[in-house]
Symmetry: C2
Subunit: 204 residues, 2 copies
DNA sequence: TACACTAACATACCACAGTCGGTTACCTTG
DNA sequence: CAAGGTAACCGACTGTGGTATGTTAGTGTA
């Protein structure tokens, strides 16, 4: 991997890319993702479609880029916020609460676009369930810790348990994004967590 | 609502509709949903696009029609199959196992199309999480029964518990449908159910 | 039977994501 | 600094889902 020398050209390219991203996001939030066309974005900033597709390989990718940024939050601020709690299980629960809160802030429209995009037909791989995500890495670390502390059952591996939790919450979020759906995400999340606390704790 | 007299014309219409549906499904299974265009379907049977849209309001609706048929299974054969089990909780668990088995039979490609369609932007309402579905009605009935028998916790309503289970499994199925995903649905379902059995049972 | 009504079907068209073959201008290398 | 390569950008085009506007032919009714 050669060093990415910053020439004038590359700098300009980066700024164009950023400009595309920003105008796209601004239009999305103003008019709603589905109502904004690629041409809208291009026209608004006097750029061509070709330019757009030079930087983003699809309309969805813009959304995904925003979504992926939230993973940064999970392994930094979120981790910090739960650090004070004594028991590992408490940390795990608090962590998942924070995840749902973050998603709530992200908003239904954007999350809907994410779910829609990720399960699309054109895609070969999906980001949302990649084990590389810090969402998983942090989660699994917390689970493993809780297991080591004897607080969680060990007949399921830490990976299994993490998957189980994430997927359950994902189903909740999916439902939350469905058109016509009308419930509070964090509230409904409490129900699930309440069950998990009991169902996952080590037998005694 | 007047009686739907079966004239020659209506009969013919019904047969056309059926023919569209059948050719569509046959093409879907042969080439994959996304590779089949509406024109493909129409050309194959010498019918026009206008005819297609006279019977189906979207390409997705064909998929959904197939999917909705599975609800019939839940309130008939599935119910019958679990009737022999003694405890209500056993019935509930067995029921959810059957649901996952049914989904496995339905197949990933079709389920992917369902998830994709349901969370689409054009839609105003979604079928998949409608409380009218027998998936929910049967599930909630079983939960309520188990609660009455003192086998399940009662600090959550039967509706809450049902939603909780369905949504968790839905997240699992969603992941299962993601491109590149590679796990056995029923097997992974066992993990979740194993946790729910403990987490949902009445405290003693 | 004649006439109005409407369901069944046809066709031209639109919207919009994504593609493709260019053209220009910056950058690297000799 | 000259030449060749390549990244940035252009804009016409395509594919496809869906719509708008007919046209035709069964059907109920007088």
């Amino acid at each position: 991997m050669p060093k990415p020398k910053m020439t004038m050209r590359k700098a300009h390219a980066l700024s164009t890319r950023r400009k595309i991203y920003d105008t796209a996001v601004s239009l999305f939030t103003k008019k709603g993702y589905s109502k904004v066309t690629i041409d809208d974005i291009c026209n608004k900033m006097g750029l061509s479609k070709g330019a757009f597709y030079n930087y983003f390989k699809s309309k969805d990718q813009i959304i995904m880029e925003g979504f992926m940024a939230s993973d940064e939050y999970y392994r930094t601020d979120a981790l910090k916020e739960i650090a004070g709690l004594k028991s590992s299980v408490d940390q795990l629960v608090a962590y998942n609460r924070l995840v749902l809160k973050k998603i709530t802030r992200t908003g239904r429209p954007l999350m809907q676009a994410v779910f829609h995009s990720e399960i699309g037909f054109r895609k070969k791989t999906s980001y949302i369930n990649s084990e590389k995500r810090s969402l998983y890495k942090v989660g699994e670390a917390l689970v493993a810790e809780a297991q080591k502390a004897g607080e969680l059952r060990t007949d399921l591996s830490s990976k299994q348990i993490t998957n189980l939790i994430v997927r359950s919450l994902r189903g909740l979020v999916y439902d939350w994004c469905l058109p016509g759906s009308k419930f509070d995400l964090e509230e409904a999340g409490e129900d699930i967590l309440k069950v998990f606390i009991v169902g996952l704790s080590a037998p005694r």
